[in-house]
Symmetry: C2
Subunit: 194 residues, 2 copies
DNA sequence: CATGTGATGACACCAAGTGCAATCGCGTAC
DNA sequence: GTACGCGATTGCACTTGGTGTCATCACATG
């Protein structure tokens, strides 16, 4: 059945995580990752576009699930509720993995390069969310803004979750965040009126 | 007065912008930038940490001015108003430069590497804004969220500005954005209630 | 004129990333 | 069983980004 060793991609991911945790992202070389996975540098780059990408292969699935949830939501639900619902559900599934997810997050936050990559994935998610909302009939501009706010809420909630320990629910943290935004943004006066 | 040619840094920036516009970011090498500025590759890296940074030297000033504006605001003003005021004022000063700013933005958006850098600068701005708000007595978490929303509003407004042409005011675009957020986020129901 | 200083440059080096061609391990058709 | 096909893996050479070290230059100042 299997030629060579199977699951080359997973082996590379696991090797990378282990090494990054052991010695820090900057101190690890792609050659070392490949070595530990029993492969070569060249093969690494057949699976991942660059050194950072080995930690972000899950992002595509993550985004797809969120967008699917948005598109599947009943038409009556408000745009904010749709976005929060999608992010909350998929986020809950993610945080259910527990410690490994927290570890990965710590690694990502330890290197600027990785934070950059994380941010652009989140930005791609914002765009995809905005498109999905637009498909539901929400005005482009409003859709973009709602998507941005939704992802901001998700990010701060996820960060709080990652900083804490033990099993903890994401939804209440997100609810708290959106309550705070509603309270802060509600009574604001327009810039023009100063 | 001057040793060598003066203004090496500005020469490098100008050379970079010219080449990026001519041939695209990816097709330009650091050596070429340095050449056109009458310097060497090594000297380039004395001024800028990497190839992307040549387009982001203004970010530090930008951030400082915004934070100063926040810290200078009267204590009575609400957190959202403070943030929007600071971003609006400094953003207006920026957009007043007109076409060169639009050009730079087009370059940044043309290369993923540059978008990543832009995003992390914006994220640093969010953190700085949150710190400044916290210093004004706003709760940490609320401060972070307000900062995120503020920067989201600024970004979408700036993007609209950059896509249009001719002199145009940023403030009304930002006002419109925040009105949309208020309308969308106001009547939302908590996740727990589903 | 000697000397210090900061900007510039030469050089060597490492790591990331890429294009291309070879090879390997297997299944399948004949 | 042999030839062939195919996809995964690899070797190799090359470009580019980025860095450490040390020399050198052009000026200012005593």
């Amino acid at each position: 059945m299997a030629r060579w060793q199977p699951d080359a991609q997973e082996r590379l991911q696991h090797a990378a995580m282990t090494l990054f945790l052991e010695r820090g992202y900057d101190e690890v070389t792609v050659a070392e990752i490949a070595d530990r996975a029993g492969l070569t540098r060249r093969t690494y780059f057949n699976y991942f576009a660059d050194k950072r990408e080995v930690l972000f292969s899950g992002a595509a699935t993550f985004e797809r699930e969120i967008i699917d949830a948005v598109l599947a939501a009943p038409a009556a639900v408000s745009s904010v509720d749709v976005v929060m619902g999608a992010l909350g559900t998929v986020g809950a599934a993610l945080t259910a993995w527990g410690e490994p997810v927290r570890q990965r997050q710590r690694v990502v936050e330890s290197a600027t390069e990785l934070r950059e990559r994380e941010l652009i994935k989140m930005d791609a998610l914002v765009t995809a969310l905005a498109d999905a909302l637009h498909q539901r009939g929400v005005e482009r501009l409003t859709a973009t803004l709602v998507a941005q706010v939704g992802v901001a809420v998700y990010r701060t909630a996820f960060q709080q979750w990652a900083e804490s320990s033990g099993p903890r629910d994401l939804a209440p943290i997100m609810d708290d965040a959106i309550r705070r935004i509603r309270a802060a943004v509600g009574p604001a006066a327009p810039l023009s009126a100063r």
